[in-house]
């Protein structure tokens, strides 16, 4: 029992891609938790439909094989089954649509004023972060560049193509507004464990509202092709 508890405490949340990973990264924001829950809802119906359709297909292929069943049947009508196979598949998408639309509209609903605005500006091939809520003039700003650490400079234990020299630090359990924009070509600011992927379009300021619920280090990569070093190789 003690051993089991110890194992539980040493599991680190998955906030960066793991080798051979199939599922999502662990959620750090309510938005990502909603996305993961929706995925589980849809997956249930997906498996239901997959098993049902596969069973019918295999049965049809097995029982009506030309060697076992040389004379094909000539059934052209079947009112009951036609009604059932129309109604039933139209009810299932309703079960999928309800949680899907609920999540979609709740993601857009920003009811609380954000506490802090952070600008994530994409460049070729690094990011600049600006915290300018407390500027008293147009000049001074808390701004810094964030470069991905090249493979040769990685320390032991660091993740390749994910670690950066200056991380953007955000307060936890606070409503954040992140403004994503590029300085040159289109980029995309993505942090999978926070459920964020926001395109950075030149001349446009895109706003995302998140509230990170637990402390930790979260990783993401540019998600829009932005030139030679987009993949940083």
């Amino acid at each position: 029992m003690i051993v089991l508890e110890w194992l539980f405490l040493t599991i680190a949340p998955c906030d960066a891609a793991e080798p051979w990973q199939l599922g999502s990264q662990d959620a750090a924001t309510p938005m990502m938790q909603g996305i993961t829950d929706l995925h589980h809802d849809i997956f249930f119906f997906l498996i239901l439909i997959l098993v049902f359709v596969s069973r019918i297909l295999v049965r049809a292929l097995w029982h009506f094989h030309y060697q076992k069943n040389p004379i094909p049947q000539r059934i052209v009508h079947g009112t009951t089954i036609e009604i059932l196979r129309t109604i039933f598949p139209s009810i299932i998408p309703m079960f999928i649509a309800i949680p899907s639309f609920a999540l979609l509209y709740s993601m857009d609903e920003v009811v609380v004023d954000p506490a802090i605005t952070i600008k994530a500006i994409g460049h070729q091939w690094y990011r600049t972060y600006e915290y300018s809520d407390y500027n008293s003039s147009d000049e001074q700003s808390l701004t810094f560049d964030s470069y991905t650490i090249p493979e040769d400079d990685l320390e032991f234990g660091q993740s390749r193509l994910l670690e950066v020299d200056n991380r953007v630090v955000v307060p936890a359990k606070t409503h954040l507004r992140i403004i994503v924009t590029p300085a040159d070509v289109p980029h995309s600011w993505a942090v999978p464990s926070s459920g964020v992927k926001c395109d950075a379009v030149p001349g446009r300021l895109n706003q995302i509202s998140i509230s990170v619920q637990r402390e930790g280090v979260y990783y993401g990569q540019c998600s829009e092709i932005c030139g030679t070093n987009h993949a940083f190789t």
């Binding site: 954000p114 500006i121 307060p171 507004r177 300021l205 895109n206």
Partner: protein
């Protein structure tokens, strides 16, 4: 208890595209100081908002355009 403040949600710009939000606050600030003079306390609010929302590069570019008299906006 630290109180953090930033530009509030503006109902005129409810969607993801906040470009007009940033630009409108910049214009509002400059119209305000034209009417009330520089360093008017009521105008400082707009200045805080546009500095929160707009990238520094954009602000510097617009300031330069205003100095040169080629700023395209209605100031």
């Amino acid at each position: 208890m630290i109180k953090l403040e930033t530009a509030p949600i503006d109902a005129r710009f409810p969607l993801m595209n906040q470009t007009q939000h940033c630009y409108t606050h910049y214009l509002e600030y400059h119209k305000c100081i034209q009417k009330k003079g520089k360093h008017a306390p009521k105008c400082e609010k707009f200045a805080d908002y546009y500095r929160s929302m707009c990238p520094l590069e954009w602000i510097q570019r617009w300031n330069k355009q205003r100095e040169q008299g080629i700023f395209p906006g209605p100031i």
